[in-house]
């Protein structure tokens, strides 16, 4: 009988269901995107990345704002050389991104602001090179990742020469000596997503070109690689004490009142995850709000329906329907709307999540347990919204109802 009532008010039922569909679809889409984003990021952190300590110096107020937030160029070559001698440390090197206008190859110029990174030899591991070798320090050499190498009409291969035009219009050449196996970010400094990259040695590209004006070139960031994952904490401690007591960076850091941010990739990931979680909570909150709006819609429409069917309620009561029967009838109606809305909403959400993941180019991960939650919530919303109108209907006095026109 509930089903018949729903069918006989097609437009009204459709609109009500739509409220639930949109709410559930929104929740599922955003949750899917959130889960995909997180899975993408966590998947990107390779095991040998976990034994690295990432460091920069920044004013206190920039702390906890993510990698390189507020970083000042304070570290010198002697600093990283000294750091690599510290206990538990396998290698240490500087890191900076080089602000560029474009990357050129074979007469083609691709505008890129954030693709060029200057760092140490060990930044790219030997086994991450698919073709060729790593660059040598002090040489005009470059390593490209596939996303960069394939960005040109004619793919860049080992032995080719590329041109990097830095901000200010100054162009430098580099011989490509290696191509990496994938285009994932190689450290949290690059961000967490894949993208086209050119890796250059700090010397000569940073020390002689960008930081030319400075007496001693200083890097805004350092990477300290521990001997093993177990040594990470020791390496972090010895790095801190070295920076605070012996380094060239100390003087500038103290003068500008900077604090050293030393973080492992696991810690950075945790921070990022916290931010993502907040974002996710916010978005899911908004989606939840649309579910709430949907539920108010159901309640409103159910109230109209109860009023409209007052006479029918009277008839049913006159022939022996108990309060409970009327309550069941209307709640069932609301539940059917909730179930249909949830199922369609879930399907729409699955498609939405897929489309979103395609659009921002991240691998798709479906948080299946959330689908269950969304469907349950959709049905609960149906019941919750249907309860008051149903109770109103059940309470109707049969005599009044039969008189009702």
């Amino acid at each position: 009988m509930s089903w018949r009532a729903i069918r006989s008010h097609k437009l009204r039922s459709t609109l009500t269901t739509l409220g639930v569909i949109i709410g559930v679809a929104a929740v599922i889409t955003f949750v899917t995107l959130g889960a995909s984003l997180q899975a993408g990021i966590i998947g990107d952190i390779s095991p040998d990345d976990r034994q690295n300590v990432y460091g920069w110096a920044a004013p206190e107020e920039s702390s906890n704002q993510g990698p390189l937030a507020g970083a000042q160029p304070v570290f010198t070559q002697p600093d990283v050389d000294g750091l690599s001698e510290q206990p538990g440390v396998r290698a240490a090197y500087g890191y900076t991104s080089i602000p560029t206008q474009s990357v050129g190859f074979g007469g083609e110029r691709i505008p890129r602001q954030d693709a060029v990174v200057a760092t140490g030899v060990d930044y790219v591991d030997e086994d991450e090179i698919a073709d060729g070798r790593r660059f040598e320090y002090g040489q005009r050499e470059a390593v490209l990742n596939p996303a960069m190498a394939n960005a040109f009409e004619r793919n860049v291969t080992v032995g080719d020469t590329i041109t990097v035009t830095i901000v200010g219009g100054f162009a430098v050449n580099a011989t490509v000596v290696g191509i990496t196996e994938d285009s994932e970010a190689r450290s949290p400094f690059e961000g967490f997503g894949p993208g086209p990259r050119v890796y250059l040695p700090l010397d000569p590209y940073y020390t002689q070109l960008v930081a030319e004006a400075q007496e001693t070139p200083r890097f805004p960031a350092i990477v300290v690689e521990a001997n093993s994952i177990d040594d990470v904490d020791r390496a972090k401690e010895s790095t801190r004490s070295y920076l605070e007591t012996e380094s060239d960076a100390r003087e500038q850091a103290e003068a500008a009142n900077l604090t050293y941010e030393l973080q492992t990739s696991t810690e950075l990931l945790g921070q990022l995850q916290a931010v993502l979680d907040q974002l996710q909570a916010f978005v899911v909150g908004i989606a939840g709000l649309s579910l709430l709006v949907g539920s108010i819609g159901i309640a409103n429409i159910m109230l109209v329906s109860v009023t409209e069917r007052t006479r029918e309620i009277g008839i049913m009561k006159a022939v022996g329907a108990q309060k409970r029967d009327i309550l069941t009838l209307f709640v069932t109606e609301a539940v059917i709307v909730g179930i249909i809305g949830s199922i369609l909403g879930t399907l729409l959400g699955i498609v939405g999540g897929w489309a979103g993941a395609q659009y921002i180019d991240i691998p798709l991960t479906y948080p299946v347990e959330w689908f269950g939650i969304a469907i349950a919530v959709g049905i609960l919303v149906g019941v919750g919204a249907g309860l008051y109108p149903a109770w109103r209907g059940a309470r109707t006095d049969p005599i009044d109802a039969l008189r009702y026109e």
């Binding site: 009277g314 008839i315 049913m316 006159a318 022939v319 022996g320 108990q322 309060k323 049969p398 039969l402």
Partner: protein, 240 residues
């Protein structure tokens, strides 16, 4: 059991129904009435004299402000709302002037409606409803919705519905009020048959010829019983 109820199908003791609309309106004012089992009673009176209120009180649709109502010796005025609803569904068959059918349900479904709330299976419901529609002459209209039926046919459906629970008491509030004379006559024949089969029938009407089908006529005026007219035993009119 109590002494008053005895064997009467319906027994009212000092039943009063008062509506407060600014000043109190006594729809029923101290009504005492006994309706023996198997009898056929007509209720007459001018508009507003309390006929419908009386029927609703007897049929457990309404509760009196004061006084007691017994159905088959059980005091329904002392029962819970739930109990009264059950009695209404199982022991009373109501026929209204305006038919009161569910517009979206077919004839069989309308007839079977009281059984839905008693948890009887679909097949059994349909079988019983079809049987009754057959009986009221609508065997070929089972799956018609009310607005595909004429007034007389609708009232037949309503009568079949009133009978579906095999009630002890059939109450009809102006069942022919919305029908033309000829159709009304047919419906009356149906009620007479029901009575002949041993059912207790109470019917409100304002048409004398219709009331004459009954054994007794209860005349109401301003919520009080003016007189009770015995039609079979000629000349035994009782002033109240």
């Amino acid at each position: 059991m109590n002494s008053t109820g005895g064997s009467a199908a319906v027994s009212l003791e000092a039943v009063t129904k008062t509506y407060m609309v600014g000043e109190p309106v006594h729809a029923l004012d101290g009504v005492d009435l006994e309706i023996p089992r198997g009898s056929y009673v007509a209720v007459m009176g001018p508009s507003g004299s309390g006929k419908s209120t009386l029927m609703n009180v007897i049929g457990c649709l309404d509760t009196p402000t004061e006084g007691m109502v017994y159905l088959d010796g059980q005091e329904v005025t002392a029962m819970s709302d739930r109990e009264r609803t059950r009695i209404r569904g199982e022991e009373v068959g109501f026929v209204f002037q305006t038919f009161n059918l569910m517009p979206r349900l077919t004839a069989v479904e309308n007839v079977a409606l009281p059984l839905v709330f008693r948890g009887i299976s679909v097949d059994e419901r349909r079988e019983r409803a079809a049987e009754l529609l057959e009986r009221v002459g609508l065997g070929d209209r089972l799956d018609h919705v009310p607005n595909m039926l004429s007034g007389g046919q609708r009232q037949r459906v309503a009568i079949a519905r009133a009978l579906v629970s095999d009630p002890a008491l059939i109450l009809a509030d102006e069942p022919t009020g919305n029908l033309d004379t000829e159709t009304g006559e047919n419906i009356m024949t149906l009620f007479e048959e029901l009575h002949a089969e041993g059912n207790t029938v109470v019917m409100v009407t304002h048409e004398r010829p219709i009331a004459e089908h009954a054994e007794r006529v209860v005349h109401l005026l301003d919520g009080e019983i003016e007189r009770i007219e015995e039609l079979e035993a000629v000349g035994t009119e009782v002033e109240s």
